[in-house]
Subunit: 125 residues, 2 copies
DNA sequence: AAAGGATATGTTCAGTCAAACATATCGCAA
DNA sequence: TTGCGATATGTTTGACTGAACATATCCTTT
């Protein structure tokens, strides 16, 4: 647990792999969500202990992976600039979150079956 | 795509994360399956372009992550040695594969929703 | 007893990837 | 017109990872 968010990492992580190297996983989804909440790429990055450079890079990747950019940003202005999710960005985030919940529910039995075979039972939440 | 198996990489990859650093994903599941099929860690590794060292390391991790080892092995003998899946190993592999299919089906709609927003439509299968 | 094939491990080396550091630009507000 | 805060990128450094290389051990077969 590196980040100070106290967020309990889900036992099941899903990643959608597109064609060649583009993919969408928990990291980018979280970043997307935080950009929506903070209105800033750098603030979003800070909130998850991620450098602006890296956050911006991930945004660039995501924007390139879809037909329309997920995040649009502006420089300068009153507060220096900012960023927000486009319609496409909102849709992608929404789909991913819904996929997470659906998948977690549908796979609950198998996951439980795997966890019951695990060691270190004391650390189970 | 590095391996010569011609296996189509699934668009949805799932990974179960246990407590601290132990986790189970597509790589270890494949390795497990190939060990079961070949009866050998080294043969399994070779079949997926993985060094014996690495394959053995992954096996060790898996064995440590569960209450009972998933793979048992023997040195020497007629064919030099070999390895096979234990009951626990079979169970883990079975659970993981079933989880994959269940999850793929349950999430189909959301995945389709995401893919429809993707660029590079020509590469869709 | 010598060979062979696979398990079992240690060590070294190179490539990759993220962190860190460094600027540059933008546009409003004071 | 100067400052601020955020976007936008380039460069360098360091850590981690896997590849490659090197042995050692085991036990059946010949």
């Amino acid at each position: 647990m590196i980040d100070g968010t106290g967020k309990t990492d889900p036992s099941l992580r899903i990643r959608i792999v597109f064609g060649d190297d583009a993919m969408l996983g928990p990291g980018k989804a979280d970043l997307l969500e935080r950009i929506r909440d903070t209105g800033s790429i750098s603030a979003a990055g800070r909130s998850m202990a991620m450098s602006y450079k890296r956050a911006w890079l991930l945004v660039e990747e995501m924007n390139a992976a879809f037909q329309a950019p997920l995040v649009e940003s502006a420089r300068g202005g009153a507060k220096g600039g900012g960023a927000y999710l486009t319609e496409t960005g909102e849709a992608v985030l929404s789909h991913y979150r819904k996929l997470e919940t659906i998948v977690a529910q549908a796979g609950a039995a198998q996951i439980e079956g795997l966890l019951s075979l695990r060691s270190d039972v004391s650390s189970r939440k």
